[in-house]
């Protein structure tokens, strides 16, 4: 299982018990006693999911969730909600939280959800990273190369492209080679696959 469950709860017993529970299912976990402590340690590189108590001392779980969203965190969040907090938890889910679990919870069910969240988080991260790579590669293409690339994506031959853009055949060939190199592909088909769903 990739990723770690990040537990944030102000009750030490809960933190300890959850760690014990997760460990029994081979889920790695790490715990913080407060939202502020977690924020101090947070980095973009953290991979996993969050198990967050709604009701905590100074900063509530929901506030922490909002701050993390602002920072662009991709971590899925599972809220632990107590009696009377359910409406808050539901609102959080609508804002993009992964799920919420009502206390007292069915523990193995919680673990199942954490595992789901970890998997979801990993794929989202991957997708996110792919997107980031593509974006950085695209940013290296010059405007002229972009015009040429669009023509290539439309399936036009070099000769046609040269006519359309009023440049020499030879120049089109150089551009094509440059584009393939910058985008890390070997053929026009590969390029089309990489950019499908984009534009």
């Amino acid at each position: 299982m990739t990723g770690t469950a990040f537990i944030v709860d102000d009750d030490e017993a809960i933190r300890d018990a959850l760690t014990w529970l997760f460990k029994s299912r081979q889920v790695a976990s790490r715990a913080w006693p407060s939202a502020e402590a977690f924020l101090a340690d947070w980095q973009d590189t953290l991979r996993g999911c969050m198990v967050l108590d709604v009701r905590m001392g100074d900063m509530s779980g929901l506030e922490l969730f909002d701050i993390l969203s602002e920072r662009g965190s991709q971590l899925p969040v599972i809220f632990l909600s107590g009696h009377g907090d359910i409406p808050l938890a539901v609102a959080a889910v609508k804002k993009g939280a992964f799920d919420f679990v009502e206390k007292p919870f069915n523990d193995n069910e919680l673990v199942d959800r954490v595992i789901l969240a970890l998997a979801f988080g990993a794929s989202r991260q991957e997708r996110h990273e792919g997107q980031a790579t593509l974006t950085s590669r695209l940013s290296q293409i010059t405007p002229r190369e972009r015009e040429v690339m669009e023509c290539i994506l439309e399936g036009k031959y070099n000769k046609v492209i040269a006519d359309e853009l009023n440049i020499a055949m030879r120049t089109v060939e150089v551009h094509r080679a440059r584009i393939f190199e910058k985008m890390g592909v070997k053929s026009a088909v590969e390029l089309a696959q990489l950019l499908s769903g984009r534009k």
Binding site: A13, I14, A17, L21, K23, S24, P104
Partner: protein
């Protein structure tokens, strides 16, 4: 109203003006009459004066004519030589005596020299320049040339004015001489004018220049009096005979009468004026009075406070419109009534009568009395009545004045406010309970969640057969501590409940019941419920929390009243009774309400069970808990007369 008043005003003004005009005209008429009379009198006087005047002139004329004749005779006798020396003097004397106007007689020869004469010194000549005055000389010459008798113009001699009568004597055309009769104007007048004439008039002779030549009297006549003048001829020469009437002695009576008439006229006018002023004042006063009355009436009619006056016997003698509106009876229906009044609510009859009698006895409370009254249609309303003695203008105490305020709305508002307050408190209580429950749930959830997680973790390991004993032991210890933590939470709740434990002390159940009834009585009256207490005297003393028992009673009584909401008003009786019971006492709260269904009776004491929409369902549950805490018992029975009976027992105080 105003138009009518102004018309009245006009009519009155006319009444006031007409007599004044009449009196004015009357006085004017009288004055004119007097003036006319005066004029007539003057006219008469003038006519009298003229005729008197003519008469005097006639006399004077006659006298002078006679003098002429006699002088003629004397002249004939003298110049014929018939008069011897001795006979002349007597003849002269007799002539002078007969003609008093002649002061001197002179006989002149044809040359004008004085031959003889008398009385008094006789001058040398009449024609000469020195001796006789010029008028006399002129007359002499005129008479000699004409041969006629001639009067001279008047002339002054000393203080007197004189004129001469010259009688010439001729024989055969020859002038022999003349006789001169010197006349004194004054003497002529004084001798010839009779006394009665002098009494009435001042008679005088003036020349053409207005110089008085002589007069009968020296008394000056007043100005602007009646006078008449006629020529005095002979002697002529522009002489005038002037008679001036002495100021006629006007009639005193007539003057007094005129004065009286004028005075009376003035008096009438003055009295009319005074009357007018008086009338004006009265009119003003009337106007002010009617304004005041209208103002008071408007005030009284627009008043919201009902006013009712009663005489000393309690009979209604006056009610205002507000009172009529309040009660629905008309003033005609109410005035003259003696108690009981139709607007007294029958169920409060005795209380109202007591208040009434208290008022008549002069003991009306100054802060007012609250009484429930009824309108004509039977609708009840609450009134606040202030009574005060009615003192008339002479300071006589004639009755009682009451102001009646309809405070139904106010009371309703107060009750509404109170209900709102209660509802609010109820809600607040609910909110507090909810919060407490939430906190409690959270506090318990934490250790329970931890316990569950530890347990599941253990089970997972056991299932996987992958565990270390130390690890398991450690976890189980943590698990136990979490269980202990949950136990602490529970204990805290228990402690909290314990803090409000009843405070027991010896007390008398009957007293508690009476206090509770006292608390709920006002509410009961409002709902038309009659609370009857049937208390057994000599109940055993009990050891109990007085406030809690009072709460139970209030709760049961309130439930009973709620149950009787739809019961007809005569049957709304709530009976609270006490009786001794085995080892203690029994309290029964009996209502005549809708009763309880068998199904409801089964759940009646369960928590959160309620037949009321706003009920929390804690009342009876708590009641039974309290009774059981006091080691008593509580149960419910069906009232055979309809309704429900709640019973509870309490054990006797154990010493």
């Amino acid at each position: 109203m105003n138009a009518a008043i102004s018309r009245l005003h006009n009519v009155q003004a006319w009444y006031l003006t007409a007599p004044r005009i009449a009196v004015g005209l009357f006085v004017l008429a009288v004055v004119s009459l007097l003036w006319l009379l005066h004029r007539q009198e003057l006219e008469e006087q003038r006519v009298g004066l003229i005729s008197d005047m003519l008469w005097v002139e006639q006399i004077l004329h006659f006298q002078l004519s006679r003098s002429q004749e006699q002088l003629q005779l004397l002249g004939q006798d003298y110049f014929n030589g018939d008069l011897a020396d001795g006979r002349f003097e007597p003849r002269l004397k007799s002539l002078l005596l007969n003609n008093p106007g002649i002061t001197q007689l002179l006989l002149l020869d044809k040359g004008g020299r004085v031959l003889r004469g008398g009385p008094g010194p006789i001058g040398e000549t009449i024609v000469g320049e020195k001796l006789r005055p010029e008028p006399s000389q002129q007359a002499f010459r005129l008479s000699r040339s004409t041969g006629n008798q001639v009067f001279s113009a008047s002339y002054a001699s000393g203080s007197e004015w004189l004129f001469d009568l010259i009688v010439p004597h001729f024989r055969d055309g020859q002038h022999l001489g003349s006789i001169v009769a010197v006349h004194s104007v004054k003497t002529l007048l004084s001798e010839q004018v009779p006394w009665w004439f002098a009494q009435k008039y001042r008679i005088s002779v003036t020349d053409s220049n207005g110089v008085i030549l002589g007069s009968k009297s020296n008394v000056e006549a007043g100005e602007e009096t009646l006078s008449h003048r006629i020529p005095f001829d002979p002697p002529g020469y522009g002489l005038l005979l002037v008679a001036t009437a002495y100021k006629a002695e006007t009639s005193l009576a007539r003057n007094l009468l005129a004065l009286a008439i004028v005075g009376l006229g003035a008096g009438v006018l003055a009295s009319l004026w005074a009357q007018r002023r008086h009338m004006q004042k009265r009119l003003d006063a009337e106007q002010a009075l009617s304004n005041e009355y209208a103002f008071r009436k408007a005030m009284e009619d627009s008043l919201f406070t009902g006013l009712r006056a009663r005489d000393l016997q309690g009979r209604i003698i006056y009610v205002n419109p507000a009172f009529c509106r309040m009660t629905g009876y008309s003033a005609a229906e109410l005035v003259g009534l003696m108690p009981p009044m139709p607007y007294w609510a029958p169920e409060e009859h005795e209380k109202t009568l007591a208040v009434h009698q208290k008022v008549l006895a002069g003991q009306a409370p100054s802060e007012g009395v609250e009484v429930r009254l009824q309108r004509k249609g039977g609708e009840r309303f609450d009134a606040l009545i202030y009574e005060a003695p009615l003192i008339d203008a002479e300071g006589q105490h004639t009755g009682w004045m009451g102001s009646v305020l309809d405070i139904t709305e106010r009371k309703r508002a107060e009750e509404l406010a109170q209900q709102q307050q209660e509802k609010l408190q109820f809600t607040a209580r609910l909110v507090t309970m909810g919060e407490m429950a939430s906190t409690l749930a959270h506090e318990l959830n934490q250790p329970l969640s931890a316990i569950a997680s530890y347990t599941t973790g253990c089970l997972n390991r056991l299932d996987a057969d992958n565990f270390q004993r130390d690890e398991m032991r450690e976890t189980l210890r943590k698990l136990a501590s979490q269980a202990k933590r949950a136990g602490h939470v529970i204990r805290r709740i228990y402690d909290f409940v314990r803090r409000s434990e009843p405070q027991r002390a010896p007390c008398d159940m009957n007293e508690i019941i009476e206090d509770a009834i006292g608390l709920i009585e006002a509410d009961a009256r409002k709902r038309g419920v009659d609370i009857v207490s049937d208390l057994f005297s000599g109940l055993p003393s009990i050891q109990a929390d007085r406030v809690m028992l009072e709460q139970i009673l209030l709760n049961l009584m309130r439930n009973g009243m709620d149950a009787m909401q739809t019961t007809e008003i005569e049957r709304r009786r709530l009976i609270v009774s006490t009786a001794p019971a085995e080892g203690g006492l029994l309290v029964r709260v009996t209502d005549h309400g809708s009763g309880i269904t068998q199904e409801a009776a089964e759940h009646l004491f369960e928590p959160f069970f309620s037949t009321k929409p706003e009920g929390m369902g804690m009342g009876l549950n708590i009641c039974r808990s309290i009774i059981e805490f006091h080691k008593g018992r509580m149960w419910v029975e069906t009232n055979p007369e309809g309704g429900t009976i709640f019973n509870f027992t309490l054990p006797q105080e154990v010493r």
